[in-house]
C-alpha cells in the first residue's frame, strides 16, 4: 500500500538546512526513499511523546537524532533509581530531577536543532486537547490504561495518528492507530478497560530493561515512515514481540463499525474521566479498605522483636523477593500459598504479616481473618518502610 506523507507540502517551503545539518543527515539524504525532500518533512514535522520512560526514551532519542523538527514531551514524574535499568534518556546523575529536564538535556546533546516543548504534567482529559493540538503525530509511551484511553480518544478526535507501544516482562506490542487513515483505534479492540489489577504494571511484574528499546524504536520507525511517506505503515496490524523466543508475530486488527469513538456514529465525542472509566477510584477505595486492617509500624515491630514478645512474623512475598532481603525472624509463606498452608499457623498465636509495601500482607490479613484468625496485624509500609526507618542496609527493590 503506497501512501502519502502526512505532512502538507506547503509546510516544506520555508524549511532550510545549514551545511552542518546536511552533513548530519547525509546517510538519510543519499537514500532515494528519503532525499532532501524527506528530511525536510522530518524537520517540518512535530511529534508528541506521551511519557519519557522506557518507551519514551528510545522514541525521543532516535527521533531527535533523525532530525524531527519539533518534539513535545509530556511527563510529570521525577527520575528514580528504578528507572535507570531501561529509561536511557535519564542518567545516574539525574536521579531526583524532573524527567523532562534530563530528557531535554539529553536531546539537546544529541541534536540541538530539535525544538523541545516540555509539559510537566500528566496527560489527562483536562489538558490532553490543549497539549496534543499542535502536533502531527501522537506517540503513546505511557504505562497505564487511563492515559492510554485518553491518548487514543484525543488522537481520534483530532484526527491524528496514535503510535502505540506497550511492554511487560518479556513481551512487547506495537501498532499505529489511525482511523483518519482507514485503520482501527484502541477502542475498536478494547471498548472497555480491563478491571483494575487484571493487567499488572511493570512496577508489579517487572520488565526486561532492554525490551522497550525494541518496541520504542519500532514506534519511532513508524513515526518516520508516516512523516516521510514511505513503506507500509503498521495500520490495522499489531506486532507482538516475544523476547524469550526472539519471535515477532503479526496480528491483524479490524475497525469496529460500532466503535464508541471512531465509528460513523460514535457514542463518545468528548474526552471523559479516564480514571473513573478505568475503575481507579473504586480500586483506591478497595485499597483503603485494605489500609484499614489492624496495622503496626516498623518501629513497633522492631520493639516487639527486641522485647522478646512471642508472636509470628509472616512474610507473604515470593521466594525471589525473600532472596533479595528479609526481616530477621520472619518466616516466608508467599500469599499464593497461604490458603493451602494455613495449617502451619496457630490461631492462638499473634500473627504479624509483612510484604514489600503492605498491600499484599493486607490481603493476607483479610484472608486469615476470614479463616477465623483474630490476633492479626499488618506491617505498615512493609520491608521498604523497614529499610527506610529501621535498617538502611536492607536494599529496596
Amino acid at each position: 500500500m503506497a501512501y502519502k506523507s502526512i505532512i502538507d507540502p506547503a509546510r516544506l517551503e520555508r524549511i532550510e538546512f545549514s551545511n552542518d545539518e546536511i552533513a548530519r543527515y547525509s546517510r538519510h539524504l543519499i537514500m532515494p526513499e528519503v532525499t532532501l525532500e524527506g528530511q525536510k518533512r522530518l524537520k517540518a514535522a512535530s511529534v508528541l511523546c506521551i511519557g519519557t520512560g522506557g518507551l519514551g526514551s528510545p522514541i525521543a532519542l532516535y527521533l531527535a537524532a533523525a532530525g524531527i523538527g519539533r518534539m513535545g514531551l509530556v511527563d510529570g514524574d521525577t527520575v528514580d533509581f528504578s528507572n535507570l535499568q531501561r529509561q536511557i534518556l535519564h542518567g545516574t546523575k539525574d536521579v531526583g530531577r524532573k524527567k523532562l529536564n534530563s530528557a531535554k538535556d539529553r536531546i539537546r546533546e544529541i541534536n540541538p536543532n530539535v525544538q523541545v516543548d516540555l509539559y510537566d504534567e500528566f496527560f489527562t482529559a483536562e489538558n490532553a486537547r490543549r497539549i496534543a493540538e499542535p502536533y502531527d503525530i501522537i506517540i503513546d509511551g505511557t504505562d497505564n490504561f487511563p492515559t492510554r484511553y485518553c491518548s487514543n480518544d484525543v488522537a481520534v478526535f483530532l484526527k491524528k495518528p496514535n503510535i502505540y507501544g506497550s511492554i511487560f516482562r518479556f513481551d512487547g506490542q506495537c501498532t499505529v492507530f489511525a482511523p483518519s487513515l482507514g485503520g482501527p483505534c484502541y477502542r475498536c479492540m478494547f471498548p472497555e478497560p480491563p478491571p483494575p489489577g487484571m493487567v499488572p504494571s511493570c512496577a508489579e511484574g517487572g520488565v526486561l530493561g532492554v525490551l522497550p528499546g525494541i518496541i520504542g524504536v519500532m514506534q519511532a520507525i513508524e513515526a518516520v515512515k508516516l512523516i516521510i511517506g514511505i513503506g507500509e505503515p503498521l495500520i490495522g496490524r499489531m506486532i507482538a514481540f516475544d523476547a524469550l523466543k526472539m519471535k515477532f508475530r503479526e496480528f491483524k486488527l479490524r475497525r469496529d463499525p460500532k466503535c464508541p469513538v471512531c465509528s460513523d456514529h460514535p457514542t463518545i465525542t468528548e474526552l471523559i474521566d479516564y480514571d473513573q472509566f478505568c475503575g481507579i477510584p473504586q480500586a483506591k477505595a478497595a485499597e483503603e479498605e485494605e489500609a484499614h486492617v489492624p496495622h503496626i509500624t516498623v518501629q513497633e515491630l522492631k520493639a516487639k522483636l527486641d522485647g522478646g514478645v512471642k508472636f509470628k512474623l509472616i512474610d507473604v512475598r515470593e521466594q525471589f523477593e525473600w532472596d533479595i532481603c528479609r526481616i530477621p525472624g520472619a518466616q516466608l509463606i508467599p500469599l499464593g500459598q497461604l490458603s493451602a498452608r494455613m495449617s502451619e499457623l496457630d490461631s492462638a498465636d499473634e500473627i504479624v504479616l509483612q510484604c514489600k509495601t503492605g498491600a499484599r500482607s493486607a490481603r493476607a490479613l483479610m484472608l486469615l481473618r476470614e479463616a477465623g484468625f483474630s490476633k492479626l496485624a499488618n506491617v505498615e509500609g512493609g520491608i521498604h518502610a523497614w529499610a527506610d526507618h529501621i535498617d538502611p542496609s536492607v536494599p529496596k527493590y
Partner: protein, 66 residues
Amino acid sequence: MKILLNGDIREIVRATNIGELIAELALPVAITLVEHNGLALRRDEWPQRPLADGDRVEVVRIVAGG
C-alpha cells in the same frame, strides 16, 4: 482436534468455537485478541466462529507497561 495455536500444534479437548477455545485456554477475555485463519475477530464474534481441525489461531494478551 489439533489446531495451530500461535504457530505451535495444540491438542484441543472440548472447544468447538473460538469463545470456548479462549475459555479452555483460560485466557482473560477482556485483554485477549484473537485472529482466526487470518481474520481478526471482535469479541462478539468469538462464539459464532466454529473451530475445525487444522485451524490457525493466533492469540495475544494485551500488555500496558511503558
